[in-house]
Amino acid sequence: MSKNLPRTLALAVTGLFLLYPLWGLASPVGHWQWAAADTGSALTTSFALTGVALVIVVAIGTPLAFSLRGASRGVRIAFEATVLLSVLMPPLALGLLLALAFGPGTALGSLLLRLGIPTSNDATAFVVTQIYASLGYYLLGAAAAFDAVPRELERAAALLGLKPHEILWRVTLPLARLGLAAAVSLAWVRALGEFGAIMVTAYYPHGIPVQLWVDLQDSGLPAVLPLLLVFLLSALPLPWALRILARTRNHA
């Protein structure tokens, strides 16, 4: 018996378990209905706005996660508790709290409205909600990725005459690459699939999760399943490619 057999079996069984819900796509729910206009619009909304949110999350989260390494233990524990609180928040509750905190009843909400910045049912509200939903996940993943880089390698680079920013580019980021790719993937999936919070703060414009809900209400499963299939096929390439790229570079 090959010594790889147990591992292969375990991977295969787990893979089948994870993919099994897709068997539902083959259920006899009737002829699939294709609302091309709504689908295209929902896809564009979801991918464009999630892309914007992801860029902001990575731009804010990466330096913040890196700076956590140098923070004192107390600061780090307090900050991680804050991040965990945002991650643990049920999505619907997050949406309700965002709607209240950025609503016209608060000083910030009324100020934003006076400045002409809509705080609900708008692309801005959509992106802000996605940032709230995904930033915590990215920070936790990125901080773990940076923590995994051995300090002695950075010290060795400094002893070889590299400046701090050169050490970051040539040692820290390349070695944290795989973990950072996982964090980006997680943030992407979390933001793209956000439903509960978006439902409250940005029902319009419809992203794919909300469109799935609308289609289910209006037309039933025959309208939901094709959109779901398109969603899965189009959402997968980015996180998958990122992981493959990071792994390839790490083992090149």
Partner: protein, 232 residues
């Protein structure tokens, strides 16, 4: 030329050491905890002395403390940190930018051949043995042409023939490049093979200076005598 006086407070006792060395190989010898590694760390910039001064080839490294990356040093220890995401070639040339690599091509080739790294040149560090890892680390240090080389027990765990080979290479290149070399090791035979002159430390203080035969003839303390015992 290295001219330094390092004072660093420690929990057990303070370390106070004066060193003057000019393009030579000098050993720091003493029992565990005598302050040898503290001196190397202060010279490298990994620790900051509490008082004193460090001058190297006309530059002041302390005070104020000069940033780590601005000190022209090579630092070799027993835990050689090769970069796992880079090949041997990239590790060796790590300290050189693209322009410097082009101008130092002949120099890099010479180091590669002298340290027998040609067949390992495109290998990743995780495929290397302990001895090969030390050779790559040594090549990486020499590639930078440092003015001060600090050795913190870099030969620990290696067999005698390999230690002799690496020590011979170090001596040869020190004489060519005329850098100052400070070596710390628990084994007096290793140090004697590498460094003609020695500074003996005990509890953070210099207790004796001289060559190895002087130390062997008249060791300053019973502890030093015991440490030198295998060769007496």
């Amino acid at each position: 030329m290295l001219d330094c006086r390092i004072h660093k407070a420690r929990r057990a006792y303070d370390v106070t050491v004066d060193i003057v060395a000019d393009a030579e190989r000098l050993a720091l010898f003493g029992p565990s905890g005598s302050g040898k590694s503290t001196v190397l760390s202060c010279l490298a910039g990994l620790e900051t002395p509490d008082a004193g001064y460090i001058h190297c080839d006309g530059e002041t490294w302390f005070p104020p403390p000069l940033a780590l990356h601005r000190r022209s040093i090579g630092y070799l220890s027993q835990r050689e940190a090769l970069f796992p995401h880079l090949s041997v070639a990239e590790n060796v040339q790590f300290s050189l930018d693209a322009a410097a690599r082009d101008s130092a091509r002949a120099w890099i080739d010479e180091i590669r051949e002298r340290l027998n790294l040609a067949t390992l040149w495109h290998t990743r560090p995780h495929h290397l043995s302990g001895g090969q890892t030390r050779r790559v680390a040594l090549a990486r240090t020499l590639c930078r042409r440092p003015r001060l080389v600090l050795l913190d027990e870099p030969f620990a765990g290696l067999d005698r023939p390999l230690v002799r080979e690496l020590a011979a290479i170090l001596k040869e290149w020190q004489e060519r490049l005329r850098f100052t070399l400070l070596a710390v090791d628990h084994d007096p035979l290793v140090l004697e093979g590498l460094c003609p002159r020695v500074i003996a430390l005990e509890e953070g203080r210099v207790i004796q200076r001289g060559d190895w035969s002087e130390l062997a003839r008249t060791p300053a303390t019973p502890t030093l005598r015991a440490l030198l015992d295998p060769r007496l």
